[in-house]
């Protein structure tokens, strides 16, 4: 058991290290760097940059050194000073730039998971208990639609419908008057008011998935002899279902949560761009385009960190819930 935990923790750090290497080098794959982009700007205005000047600029930004040195400098800053580096484009430290956006990203992801639970589990139970009923067919149909449509598509359709029906252009997580305000009760309420559209968009696929899984698991359980026995003993129907089969059927739901987490974050990149959300997603896309490498690297690292932590937590939960895994590990 302890053995497993140690091994698992070591692998987590290896994974994080791999994430930093991959993200850093992928960011540097496209031709050119931030200075290339900057020179293109000078040229666009008719100014001329000769080779000397370009190399001065590279020196100014530390881009003249070999890639692995840049990487080592970056990673040592992160480990030693918790400093994610400097965003060229914002002209500010990366941590300053992404702080609030990261918070909103996490809030959105957690809210979406809660949304998925609230809708998927009861619906999954109803679908299983009332198998082949009208409601089962309806939710199955909706679930497949939810699974089949990409979330950015749902986002676009919702934006269009809201504009046509309600004359309201969604986008963003706050009303204008709150977007820059300090956190307050009113601002939280405003956030909740705006947040449900991205939550629905992001959560649809996960909800559909969880409905199917809950339904399938519960159906397996309901057919088992202990359920028949419980019924035969005269337990109320509610107790029969809720006390045992549902509990067991929920196990995958818990592990699925960690497995959904990376989906939510990766999905929120594209949905964030489409819905104009002040999350880290759109910022990541722009940073990559501008070759603002430390900003992009910082975001990918944090997203990777959340993913790795999420899977770690899910493994621990499984370990706790399911003795089979516990024993296999030792």
């Amino acid at each position: 058991m302890l053995n497993f935990l140690i091994r698992r923790t070591v692998f987590m750090f290896v994974a994080l290290f791999a994430v930093t290497v991959i993200s850093f080098f992928i960011i540097n794959l496209p031709k050119g760097d931030y200075v290339t982009a900057y020179i293109a700007q000078l040229q666009a205005t008719g100014s001329l940059v000769d080779a000397d000047e370009a190399s001065n600029l590279r020196k100014f930004y530390g881009l003249d050194r070999p890639l692995y040195i840049q990487y080592l400098k970056w990673i040592s800053q992160i480990v030693l000073e918790q400093n994610l580096g400097f965003s060229f484009e914002y002209n500010q430290p990366v941590t300053v730039v992404i702080a609030e956006r990261l918070l909103l990203t996490i809030i959105l992801a957690i809210a979406t998971i809660i949304f998925i639970w609230i809708f998927a589990i009861p619906i999954g139970i109803i679908s299983a208990v009332k198998q082949y009923s009208f409601w089962d067919y309806l939710f199955t149909f909706l679930g497949f639609i939810g699974l089949a449509i990409p979330d950015f598509m749902i986002a676009l359709i919702m934006m269009y419908l809201f504009f046509v029906w309600f004359d309201f252009s969604p986008g963003g997580l706050f009303s204008p008057e709150f977007s820059q305000a300090a956190w307050s009760y009113a601002r939280v309420m405003d956030l909740i008011e705006h947040m449900w559209i991205p939550i629905v968009v992001l959560g649809t696929a996960g909800t559909a998935q969880l409905i199917r899984i809950t339904r399938a698991n519960l159906l397996d359980e309901l057919a088992k002899p202990y359920v028949v026995t419980a019924r035969a003993k005269g337990l109320s129907e509610w107790k029969v279902i809720a006390k045992y089969p549902v509990r067991i059927a929920l196990n995958p739901a818990i592990s699925l949560t960690a497995y959904i987490l990376p989906f939510l974050i990766s999905g929120s990149v594209i949905v964030g761009v489409v819905l104009s959300l002040p999350t880290v997603g759109p910022m990541l896309v722009k940073a990559l385009v501008a070759q603002d490498m430390y900003l992009a690297g910082g975001i990918i690292l944090l997203v990777g960190f959340m993913t790795v932590i999420g899977t770690f937590i899910s493994d621990l939960l499984l370990l706790w819930i399911d003795p089979r895994i516990r024993f296999e590990g030792s």
């Binding site: 496209p30 031709k31 293109a40 700007q41 000078l42 430290p93 004359d167 990376p262 896309v285």
Partner: protein
């Protein structure tokens, strides 16, 4: 059980790659690739403009470069005759008559009454800039709502709020007074003076005078940390210009070599002011009283203390910290000279500005400008959202980022959104010019036989006459472009009634084929494609960037098909990601590049499209580099380079040479233009907004909408 964990890792890798891939194909990439603010605009402004002939024509008649004192210009009969737009021409102009009294907005009056700012007469300079609005004297109040796309979109407000010492009139060619009230130049254009208004104030109430210019010269321009590469405009004959403050209001500038273009450059985006250029350490002046606390020359402990202060804030060194502090868009503490001042930085979800109660301009009734109290820009993470908000009527005036291809939807919703649509065009700009690389034969894969045709003017003329421009215009630009040449509107003295190159832009396959037959391309293969004398098929390779402003891949594909069918000249499409594409220009491998050209009025100020000088690269990269070493090319390109040099040194030659160089492009059919003058901006304007000039000609160098004087725009009945 590690499967799941591996899965997570793969997912992160996929996520990062996916986004990288996405970034390569995202159209918005264009804007951000060029990162800093000004560039974004240069690129964001795809070419175009109908207003044909037209705004550049008055330029030729009005050389204002070597001249003393204020110029004033309203729309002239000439401009009107040139048909710059639908309806009557209504342009703002500067007025020479000083109003007898001054008044201010209630917002400033309240602050003055509360004692937080001085009274109006102490805030205005002795001689305010008097602007006569395009239509009417306005009323104060309201908010200018706009959308922006993030910190790289600084040009969004840099354009409307020019803080240049001198600035252009609406026609984009006449240099006018602005912060500076007059200027002089000596006869050989080596000594210039600019006189500032007396009593100017920064937005924090501090005095603005030549100290702010000299601070910039001594501590920023000449500082290696801040300006490792001084801007090219600040050098003449290889040396930095010499700046001398004659008194608090007069600055003298000396250049080693004649530099008649300098005044025009100062008025343009090339020099601009600190709001546009401050984050790069340029901008000709800077708020010295504010910046001194961050500069090692002025703090105890020098560089070490400055670096320590910067590091405490998370910056690598003092220079980066200093430049951040001088970037008013991102740092609202930095004082400004513009009509509005930043109150919420561009790095937030809402970029907000508020009127600058110390602004130096008034209307002809003496009301201090601007009319609108606030500017509020909402962040749109993508252009679809921004356009949707525009369709919903959420913006007051917005041309930037508006997508012309959605025109039908904009028109359909204009009553519901209570807005009108106005096209801002860039006179004689190419949308997708075909630039033939005349230096290709000197490149790594140049073949002498094919190169001999590429450098042959008749060959290019034949290609041009074999192009069906109307078809391209309809298919790609909703028919909103034009099919004339770069020289439209300029009479050819040798061919009255026509302009130079007019014959070449007409579809005339017979004449084209006759030319091709005559130059030794008369043999054809079994598919009817022409063969070179050696027997090899002639194939012209089009080098295009994918996912750029326009669908160059599609346009060039159509051109290739037209040339095959009409002329029997075979072609090949070489589509590359943008940076790889521009890499091929640098290495001189591309034969034919498809790209825009900005309005011909900028041919000398920003020569990188039509010229073969400096950074000019499409027509002849190698010759442009040679020219830096003083070597002139042969033939027409050499003439272009000489005319350019002459215009830079001798201001009186600027206007005539500007026309002559473009004529050289037309005479020599390089670039081959396809569709011209698509509206650059499709401006969405609330119906109750007044004083937006009609028409508003567009250019990057004159920072449109800045040349429309947005400080005079006002809202009838407030925001609706």
């Amino acid at each position: 059980m590690f499967r799941k964990f591996q899965f997570g890792l793969v997912l992160v890798a996929m996520l990062s790659m996916g986004v990288v891939a996405m970034s390569c194909s995202d159209e918005e990439a264009e804007e951000v690739t060029n990162t800093t603010n000004a560039s974004a605009a240069a690129k964001a402004a795809p070419p175009a403009a109908k207003a044909a002939a037209k705004a550049a024509a008055p330029a030729a008649k009005a050389p204002k470069v070597v001249e003393t004192s204020k110029t004033t210009k309203a729309a002239t009969a000439d401009d009107q005759a040139a048909g710059l737009g639908e309806g009557d021409v209504s342009w703002p102009s500067l007025s020479d008559s000083m109003p007898s009294s001054f008044s201010e907005s209630p917002l400033c009056a309240a602050q003055a009454a509360a004692g937080t700012i001085p009274a109006l007469e102490d805030r205005l300079p002795d001689n305010p800039l008097v602007i006569s609005p395009a239509e009417s004297i306005g009323e104060y109040g309201g908010t200018w709502f706009r959308g922006f796309t993030g910190p790289a979109d600084g040009q969004n407000m840099e354009r409307p709020m020019k803080d240049h010492l001198l600035f252009f009139g609406t026609n984009m060619t006449d240099v006018q007074a602005n912060i500076g009230e007059s200027w002089t130049s000596n006869a050989d254009a080596t000594e210039f003076t600019i006189t500032l208004r007396k009593g100017l104030k920064w937005s924090d109430g501090d005095d603005f005078n030549t100290d702010d210019i000299m601070f910039w010269v001594d501590n920023m321009l000449s500082d290696e940390e801040i300006n490792p590469s001084p801007p090219a405009w600040a050098k003449s004959g290889g040396e930095l210009l010499k700046f001398t403050a004659l008194d608090k209001e007069t600055i003298q500038i000396n250049s080693l070599e004649p530099y008649g273009l300098l005044i025009t450059l100062i008025a343009s985006v090339v020099v601009a002011g600190p709001h546009t250029r401050g984050d790069g350490g340029d901008g000709l002046y800077a708020p010295s009283h504010y910046l001194k606390q961050f500069h090692p020359n002025f703090i105890d402990g020098g560089v070490a203390a400055a670096n320590a202060a910067a590091e405490a804030e998370g910056y690598d060194n003092w220079a980066k910290y200093f430049l951040f502090k001088n970037h008013a868009n991102a740092n609202p503490d930095s004082p400004m000279m513009t009509a509005w001042k930043v109150t919420q930085p561009i790095t937030s979800e809402q970029w907000a500005l508020e009127r600058n109660c110390f602004y130096y301009a008034v209307d002809t009734d003496g009301q201090q400008l601007p009319y609108m109290d606030y500017v509020v820009l909402d962040l749109a993470e993508n252009l679809e959202v921004l356009n949707l908000k525009a369709i919903a009527g959420e913006y007051t005036v917005q041309g930037r980022h508006i997508d012309l291809s959605k025109l039908a939807v904009f028109k359909e919703n204009s009553d519901k959104g209570n807005y009108r649509i106005q096209f801002w065009r860039q006179p004689e700009s190419g949308i997708a010019n075909l630039y033939i690389n005349e230096d290709w034969g000197r490149g790594p894969n140049g073949s002498p036989e094919l190169a001999s045709f590429l450098t042959n003017k008749d060959f290019r003329a034949a290609l041009s006459m074999g192009t069906e421009r109307d078809e391209i215009n309809e298919v790609f630009f909703l028919g909103l472009g034009e099919v004339g040449g770069l020289c439209a509107g300029w009479d050819d003295p040798n061919n009255p009634g026509k302009y130079i190159g007019e014959d070449y832009v007409q579809f005339n396959p017979d004449a084209a084929n006759a030319l091709l037959d005559a130059m030794g391309l008369d043999k054809r293969d079994s598919e009817g494609m022409r063969l070179m004398p050696s027997g090899e098929k002639i194939v012209v390779t089009h080098s295009v960037a994918v996912a750029a402003f326009e669908d160059y891949e599609g346009i060039d594909g159509m051109v290739i098909e037209q040339w095959r069918q009409n002329l029997g000249v075979d072609g090949k499409l070489d589509a590359q990601e943008r940076s790889l594409w521009s890499g091929r220009i640098d290495t001189n491998e591309a034969q034919l590049n498809s790209w825009e050209s900005s309005g011909r009025a900028g041919a000398i100020i920003t020569p990188n499209h039509l010229g073969m000088v400096g950074a000019g690269g499409f027509i002849a990269r190698v010759s442009a580099t040679d020219h830096l070493d003083g070597i002139y090319a042969d033939g027409w390109m050499g003439e272009w380079q000489r005319l350019y040099d002459e215009a830079v040194s001798d201001g009186s030659k600027y206007a005539p040479n500007l026309q002559r160089v473009v004529e050289l492009n037309c005479e020599n059919v390089n670039p081959i233009t396809t569709v011209m003058n698509k509206p650059t901006y499709t401006a969405i304007i609330k119906k109750n907004v007044h004083n937006v000039p009609n028409p508003l000609p567009f250019s990057y160098h004159a920072q449109t909408s800045g040349n429309g004087f947005p400080e005079t725009w006002w809202l009838e009945g407030g925001n609706q």
